[in-house]
């Protein structure tokens, strides 16, 4: 009886796992076979890399990769800078009005940037940042989520270390840089993984504020490439899709534990 339930558990879990990665496996199958072999699920048909070659030649992918890479880097640098300063102010400094401002910041957690696309678009145009990578990244830099995360991390730093550094003659910014930032390294790492994978995958906002191959990130490029008007077939779309998710997917498979820990740390605190 016990052996049976145990078997059923393994069976159910593995069945669900297979269903869960089936779309990815089928895409891999389609990308490595000719279109007719792929749709007929012809199991003994020859493998080919032709689809990748055609897909790669069909759009400026290298440019898209570079754009996405620049975009996530710009956002991450901006977020680290802004959330470190603000998180430190909220965690360790006393000043009038702090609590009210903190509530305002928390409100932004629920006013999703996605919802404000119309006015944010107007703002980006006003600032002359339309169709620039900075324009795509800017609305995400002062992340309320990041500020909250950093505040929590800095609150956990023992006050004795702060005092010791002060007695040694360290200024406030020096203390932040030499004491708090090094101690919050795991939080930075977690935040970086969450931020990079979020913005690598972001679509709607970049779709709105980019208008040329010079700024377009991978997701937008992929959606244009796969649009039905272009008439590309399923094997080539699959190849392009796999190409564009490959860096993040490979990174995830290698650093799986860190990824999961990062999402947990970011979600629970």
């Amino acid at each position: 009886m016990k052996a049976l339930t145990k078997f059923m558990d393994s069976f159910g879990a593995i069945l669900l796992a297979i269903i869960w990665i089936a779309p990815l496996l089928f895409a891999f199958w389609a990308a490595t076979h000719s279109t007719s072999d792929a749709v007929n699920l012809n199991l003994f048909s020859p493998w080919t890399l032709e689809n990748f070659r055609v897909a790669w030649a069909g759009a400026p992918w290298l440019k898209y990769f570079i754009n996405t890479f620049l975009l996530v880097t710009v956002i991450l640098i901006g977020q680290f800078f802004l959330t470190t300063l603000a998180g430190f102010a909220f965690a360790q400094l006393q000043f009038p009005g702090k609590d009210y401002v903190f509530i305002l910041v928390l409100m932004q957690l629920f006013i999703l940037p996605e919802v404000l696309i119309v006015e944010n678009y107007a703002m980006i145009s006003r600032l002359g940042l339309f169709d620039t990578i900075l324009g795509v990244g800017m609305p995400y830099m002062a992340s309320a989520f990041g500020i909250f995360l950093m505040r929590q991390a800095f609150k956990g730093v023992p006050i004795e270390l702060h005092e010791a550094a002060r007695i040694e003659g360290c200024g406030l910014l020096g203390i932040l840089w030499r004491v708090y930032v090094p101690l919050a390294k795991p939080t930075y790492l977690a935040y970086a993984l969450v931020s990079v994978s979020t913005h690598w995958n972001n679509f709607l906002w970049p779709l709105i504020v980019t208008n040329s191959p010079d700024t377009r990130p991978l997701t937008v490029g992929l959606s244009i490439f796969g649009a039905p008007e272009n008439g590309v077939d399923i094997s080539i779309i699959s190849a392009a899709t796999l190409m564009s998710v490959a860096p993040l997917l490979i990174a995830f498979l290698i650093f799986q534990r860190q990824f999961v820990q990062a999402f947990l740390r970011a979600g629970i605190k």
Partner: protein, 297 residues
Amino acid sequence: MSAHANLERRRQAIYGWLLLSPAAVLLTLFAFYPSVATLWSSMFSRGTRRKPTEFVGTENYSDLFADPTFWIVVKNNLLYAGITIPVSIFIALSMALWANGKIRARGFVRTAYFTPTVLPMIAAANLWLFFYTPGLGVLDQIGSLFGLPSVNWLGQPETALWAIIIVTIWKEAGFFMIFYLAALQTIPEDLKEAADIEGASRWTYTRRIVLPLLMPTTLFIAVNAMINSVKLIDHLFILTKGGPSDASKLILYYIWEMAFAFFDAPSAAAMTIMVIAVLGIVAAVQFFYLDKRTHYQ
């Protein structure tokens, strides 16, 4: 002494505001000001070449309420939320219970569950396109083995929204699983032993001990799933574009369409305000009500 304390307080205030200012500027530019500006522009008419914009009060709102498409979209989004939230929570919980148990191939199982989380929604949509394509798609191929007729999953109003819902559940369940996994690992072993000694069945143990202890996690996940049911619309751009005849159109997609395809910014603004109001209510309920009721110690 008090003069010194005073000086210190002033110093902290100056530093505090200085450190906050970069974030405050950006938050004002991209969150607070746009929210107010959206509210403001939702009360003005859409300007045309001949007629400049003018103040119309709540007219944009009443126009929306009179727009049948708006109600279809609201209904779609309610169904979208009503299905994706409970189903992905249920699947996430099952995944976590399995992935936490002593099963075969646990590493593979966990990886398989979590992988969709790291894919962009656009890529996910492309993967699923291969499943849904009529005639050639995997679903139809499987169906034809059993003699079922070809179904245009994305092209007919009865199934389009369901096809969208399945992709969303597939995308988010694995993400929610890891929060359950973490919570499961904090449940002490003795509880399981005590339940075994008392002769409680596995079902009783799960229902009476595990599920109540997971309640705070469930609420955290539910709030996230609710936000996702507004936010996760990228796959519409690939799979259905909201069609056929608005059958799979969701609110955020409609806002985008209003603003950037029909150039009707005031209507988009009015809808945005309503979404913000709903999100605000969710936030308020979470802060003031649920947080108090889910702590057991």
